[in-house]
């Protein structure tokens, strides 16, 4: 059996999308009442749940408190059933830790932490189903959750991945495309300002191509922003409608 080609001569990807097209995104805010903020997002078959607590007092050792800004604490885990083969340990492995750190970095850049000195904001993200682009899904879910919690942010943080196949940049990689082993770029963007909250890339890519891949990722992130914005507005509408009654 010959392998799949990720981009056919007619410009279709394996799942039928064209190069720049996103997977179907569905999101909901306020899925849990107990938490301060929560959100659920589906990007294609990648499904993530984010919960936000805070800002509240520092739990644990007080020494960790920061005098001038809030501490952002991110924890990432993925469900044992999220992948094709059941995982043994749901959290605490190296990959989860790394993902937690990346999320923290992203949100420290986006949340106006100086408004809440000596306090803590907890962001917990769990991936229920992983089908490529887990980082992006986590960031998008967390953004919505933070918004739901009412924590002030500079802007939305919208993330998207991008890859590069046969001279074409592909947006929003699925698991098949990631597994093929090409260069893969993860971008978290503050869309209004165009500032980059996080940029990460593994595998080697020629410098000449970087611009195009970055451009594809940024455009995808902006597309994600429009979608998220729509979700937020709808959520607010619903909430105000309830309040009004």
């Amino acid at each position: 059996m010959a392998g799949l080609d990720l981009l056919s001569d007619q410009g279709y990807r394996v799942d039928g999308r064209r190069a720049g097209e996103l997977r179907k995104i569905q999101a909901r805010m306020g899925v849990f009442a107990q938490a301060d903020g929560s959100a659920y997002i589906e990007q294609g078959n990648t499904k993530a749940l984010a919960v936000v607590y805070g800002p509240h007092e520092i739990r644990g050792s007080r020494a960790r408190a920061l005098p001038d800004r809030a501490l952002v604490n991110c924890q990432y885990s993925s469900a044992t059933f999220s992948t094709g083969e059941r995982k043994r340990r749901p959290h605490g492995d190296r990959k989860s830790c790394e993902m937690g750190l990346q999320l923290r970095q992203t949100f420290e850049a986006a949340i106006l932490t100086q408004l809440h000195p000596r306090s803590q904001i907890d962001i917990y993200v769990q991936v229920l189903q992983a089908d490529g682009g887990t980082y992006a899904a986590c960031v998008n879910a967390a953004t919505l959750a933070v918004l739901d919690a009412g924590i002030p942010m500079r802007d939305f943080v919208c993330a998207c991945s991008a890859g590069f196949v046969d001279g074409t940049a592909l947006a929003d990689l699925s698991h098949v495309e990631e597994a093929a082993g090409g260069p893969q770029l993860a971008l978290a963007l503050l869309p209004a300002s165009g500032q980059i909250a996080l940029l990460e890339m593994d595998a080697r890519l020629h410098e000449d191509h970087l611009e195009r891949v970055l451009e594809a990722a940024a455009r995808a992130a902006r597309d994600v922003h429009t979608l998220l914005d729509h979700v937020v507005r709808q959520h607010v509408c619903e909430a105000s409608l309830l309040l009004g009654d």
Binding site: M1, A2, S8, D9, Q10, Y12, V14, D15, G16, R17, E21, R23, K24, G44, N45, G84, E85, D131, S174, V176
Partner: protein
């Protein structure tokens, strides 16, 4: 704008575990269709290359076609091909990168008029694979669905042809959507024997396209259109436009090489085409004859290359290069075809071996064998080593293990066989007895060949290749070595033998079947009767016991008791058989003779008269018991193995073939109802002309010819209703009762054994044929059976010709005979001669254009004139004003002569010498009274001392025996006689040749 679907796949990981993978699948409302006919090019975003406008239709190949015939699709001549994404992916997954890249580059090439349609991403074309649907089925379904969508997308302006090999798909989708055709076009070339130069027909294989014009065969007119294909090839045909269609010729024509003026007498036009490709060559060994010396000279200096003439008229002359042409002149020679250049009129071949002298009996018989691809080498040593030993020093015995496993019928049952006199290979025996509860037990015991022939042993493979025992007019070629066929498997009288039995318990009064038992048994046949003796016993004529060896050494008392027992058994069996037969008749069984055997059987009747034989009731009784056994075994194996049982099917005939029969019958004032086998049997029974018994026989034989042949089939390849046996009026039928001479019976025996062990929940030891293998095997056996029939017929004709050749047709009284006209053609009539069972053509117009006319003394002479053909009569009018009319079923006097041919087989030639029935001088009305005819013939025979004449009688006699269904062997003395005749014949032939 996109729609999301999910696909669930199961993949196998490296460690062998199954992994469930869910993939997304996005559908969109429009994908590029790349057709210039597209109504919304903007929505479709057709930017790449487009299909051209100037094609008559688009072709959509099925996935299998793309996989297997990509090379053909690569021809630049093929335009307007739409490759479906589904098909491309099938290529990618199953054929690897190499082929897939070929396909990709084909699609990219701007010169090629082909596109890819991404049907799986189109929301209307995508079909979800249903639960349990096989990948292949789903792919075909998807492609068809996409084809339909595409057709509608182009606003029905361009017909689409989907090409597939999947018969089911053709059946299913063939007529679903207007404008979308699902086809597969293949046919077998059939060259008309009588006009080899001009006409050939192609019978379509599985053609089920919607064009109703194509139900008939396609005519291929002329050698050029035949495009170097040879009789039997599987070819692809292109239909010519309607205004070039031609009709087939109805006139009689002699087998001359000169082209007669045709065309003026052709019937209405039929589909005509030309061969564009040969899918499968069917070249075999051909028997040829070198041209005579004079002809070689005329061929000029290029003597190295010689055109030889095949024995078979349908094969073109073959060019071979040999130095031995002169030495091989008088021989029949085997050649093979090697190649056929496109620039050449004749194929090239090479010389293989010499068969024998022309007109020598052995040579001619060998010719017939080679022409029918029958190879009869003696059994090899390895094959014989597998055979059990049975010598006087080391006699074969029943082994104790087998004794334990088999039901022992040796003491409990009176088993006996009824066969022709002198039969060696007895494969069926019968028994009947009264059970304790008063019911009857009928048993049919068949030789257990499978006990000796293990599956896939050397002997099994050899038997499978031979498939049947071949009976020629004067000899036979056995399927199994004689140690089995004439000894250990043969259920001879007075010895222990293994058998496979079917036993029924019948109600004592109604003879209804209550129970049936199948299994392996040991039997000892008490009597080996022959038909005449059994009939005498049945009629109560006890004097015949002198002829039965089993009764010889008995004292009077026990002889009387045993005789009574035997007579009771035969009487009871006949009674039962009558009952079963009556039941079958009610369902519409046709007269068996009419179905199985042609007119020759009627000829047999005459000859039987000669040696005072009658068609006996015991014949029918034995046949009926065998039919019953076959029927029940068929039921059993079909129930146990619904997908891999071997049955014998006799499909109902096409009504249009009965047209001629109905017309003929109408001419005589009978109406034949052919709607079902019941009505046909009834109306044939009624169509009896008291003044002329030949009419009924002819009608029956015409009915037989209109029917299709019975065939072996594997049950996995058809619906249950298709296995109906039309002639016997049984829902299921197979061949079980003659495993010694038919391989199909061996297969059925194995199936039955497996079915029995399946019932006992035992493991099935023998690995049975799968449906596919069985289908292949059935095709082989059918093919061999046909070859056996042909060779039998040809050898009969050979003997007929040899017989008549020695006689001078002008003087010999025997060469003049009475004939009946049974068909009318434009320049002659077809005549049947009841006395010799010959059918042939008689011309009313000869080569010089003279027509036949009869003077007042009803002697015929040739005069200039013209012929006029009507529905059921033909009139020849001479310029002198005389006219002569022949009606169907008229009796005429014909003279039989032999037309010799150097390269081909000799043929019987008939000439009408009088339009009055032939009167044999010393008896009146001979043709109407078989009794008189008999006495006349007997007289004649006794008077005659001429050796050759005796030879003829014996010869015809042997031929007759061949046609008898349950006869297998000829006596030893007969063979000796034949040997003598052969010497004689040889002498005559060489004399003839010398002069």
């Amino acid at each position: 704008m996109l729609q999301k679907r999910e696909k669930v796949l199961f993949l196998r990981t490296f460690r062998g575990r199954t992994l469930r993978i869910v993939r997304e699948h996005y559908l969109r409302p429009s994908v590029p269709c790349n057709s210039p006919l597209c109504p919304q090019p903007a929505a479709c975003r057709n930017d790449g290359k487009l299909l051209t406008m100037d094609v008559t239709h688009y072709v959509i190949p099925d996935w299998k076609v793309v996989q297997d015939y990509l090379e053909i699709l690569e021809f630049p001549e093929l335009k307007g091909i739409i490759f479906m994404q589904t098909a491309c992916q099938a290529v990618q997954h199953q054929r690897g990168w190499r082929q897939y890249n070929k396909l990709r580059s084909l699609l990219k090439d701007a010169r090629r008029d082909c596109i890819l349609f991404a049907n799986e991403f189109q929301q209307h074309c995508y079909l979800l694979r249903e639960r349990g649907e096989s990948m292949e089925k789903w792919q075909t379904r998807s492609i068809y669905n996409a084809a339909v969508w595409y057709y509608h997308h182009c606003q029905d302006r361009m017909p689409i042809v989907m090409v597939t090999e999947d018969e089911e798909a053709i059946q299913q989708y063939g007529s679903e959507t207007e404008g979308v055709f699902v086809i597969s076009f293949k046919g077998i070339l059939n060259v008309n024997k009588h006009r080899a130069q001009m006409e050939a027909f192609v019978r379509l294989q599985g053609a089920s396209s919607k064009d109703s014009d194509l139900v008939s065969d396609i005519l291929i007119h002329g050698m050029k259109a035949r495009n170097r294909s040879i009789h039997g090839d599987v070819v692809v045909v292109e239909l010519l436009p309607k205004d070039e269609w031609k009709g087939r010729t109805a006139a009689l024509c002699e087998n001359d090489n000169e082209d007669k003026a045709s065309g003026e007498s052709s019937s209405e036009p039929m589909p005509t085409g030309r061969v564009v490709g040969i899918l499968q060559k069917n070249w075999r060994d051909y028997v040829v004859t070198f041209p005579a010396k004079e002809e070689v000279q005329s061929q000029g200096k290029n003597a190295q290359k010689i055109l030889v003439t095949p024995w078979d008229y349908r094969i073109p002359k073959i060019r071979i290069s040999t130095q031995q042409a002169e030495a091989l002149q008088d021989f029949r020679v085997v050649v093979r075809i090697d190649s056929w250049e496109s620039t050449s009129v004749y194929p090239n071949g090479h010389f293989v071996r010499v068969l024998g002298r022309i007109r020598d009996l052995e040579g001619e018989i060998a010719t017939i064998l080679v022409e029918n691809s029958i190879s009869v080498v003696p059994f090899s040593e390895a094959q014989m080593c597998e055979m059990p030993v049975n010598t006087p020093e080391n006699p074969w015995k029943v082994s104790p293990e087998e004794e334990r496993e088999r039901k022992d019928l040796r003491r409990t049952h009176l088993v006996f066989s009824i066969d022709p006199k002198g039969c060696e290979d007895v494969d069926d025996t019968l028994s009947v007895r009264t059970l304790n509860n008063g019911n009857l037990e009928l048993g049919v015991h068949i030789a257990d060949v499978t006990h000796f022939v293990a599956p896939n042993s050397y002997i099994d493979i050899e038997a499978r290749t031979r498939a049947t025992t071949y009976y020629l007019a004067d000899r036979r070629y056995d399927m199994l070595p004689s140690i089995l066929s004439a000894d250990l498997c043969s259920l001879l009288g007075g010895v222990d033998r293994y058998a496979v039995s079917v036993m029924w318990e019948l109600d004592k009064i109604t003879y209804e079947i209550k129970k049936v038992w199948y299994g392996r048994t040991i039997i000892r046949s008490a009597y080996q009767l022959f038909y005449e003796a059994a009939q005498e016993l049945l009629d109560g004529n006890v004097s015949i016991i002198e002829d039965i060896p089993e009764f010889k050494d008995l004292d009077e008392k026990s002889r009387q008791a045993k005789l009574e027992e035997l007579v009771w058994a035969i009487g009871k069996l006949t009674d039962i058989a009558r009952h079963i037969r009556a039941k079958r008749d009610r369902c519409g069984a046709l007269e068996l003779e009419g179905v199985e055997i042609h007119v020759q059987l009627d000829e047999k009747k005459n000859i039987h008269d000669l040696i005072s034989k009658q068609p006996l009731e015991v014949h029918e009784m034995v046949a009926e018991c065998m039919i019953l056994a076959n029927h029940w075994v068929a039921k059993k194996i079909w129930e146990s193995f619904p997908h891999q049982a071997l049955l014998r099917q006799h499909p109902p005939p096409h009504q249009e073939f009965f047209l001629e029969l109905r017309e003929c019958a109408k001419a005589k004032g009978f109406s034949i109802d052919t709607r079902s086998n019941k009505t046909l049997a009834d109306s044939l029974g009624n169509a009896h002309d008291p003044s002329d018994p030949v009419v009924n026989r002819l009608l029956r034989s015409m009915a037989t010819q209109a029917m299709s042949n019975a065939l072996y089939v594997s049950t996995g390849s058809g619906a249950e209703a298709e296995f109906y046996h039309y002639g016997l009026a049984l829902d299921k039928y197979t061949h079980f009762t003659s495993p010694i001479r038919r391989y199909s019976d061996i297969v059925v025996h194995r199936l039955l054994m497996a079915a029995i062990s399946k019932d006992k929940k035992m493991e099935i030891e023998e690995n049975l044929f799968s449906n596919k293998d069985l289908e292949e095997l059935c095709r082989h056996i059918n093919n061999r059976n046909r070859a056996a029939q042909h060779s039998q017929k040809q050898s009969t004709e050979l003997f007929q010709c040899m017989y008549f050749k020695d006689r001078d047709p002008e003087t010999e009284e025997r060469c003049i005979s009475d004939g009946v006209i049974y068909s009318i053609r434009t320049n002659g009539v077809l005549v049947f001669i009841p006395r010799f069972g010959i059918k042939g053509a008689a011309y009313l117009k000869n080569k010089d254009g003279l027509v036949l006319s009869c003077g007042p003394d009803s002697r015929s002479e040739w005069k200039p004139g013209s012929l006029q053909r009507f529905q059921n009569k033909i009139t020849s009018a001479t310029t002198g004003g005389d006219s002569l009319t022949f009606h169907l079923f008229d009796h005429v006097t014909v003279r039989i002569s032999v037309q010799t041919s150097r390269c081909h087989s000799d043929t019987i030639r008939l000439e009408i010498i009088s339009n009055k029935p032939y009167m044999i001088p010393n008896t009146e009305l001979s043709h109407q009274s078989p009794l008189l005819l008999k006495s006349e013939l007997v007289k004649e025979v006794t008077k005659s001392v001429e050796e050759a004449q005796l030879a003829q009688d014996v010869k015809v006699n042997t031929i007759q025996e061949e046609y008898q269904e349950y006869c297998q062997t000829k006596g030893r003395s007969l063979y000796m006689l034949l040997e003598e005749i052969r010497d004689l014949a040889l002498l005559d032939v060489s004399n003839d040749h010398g002069t």
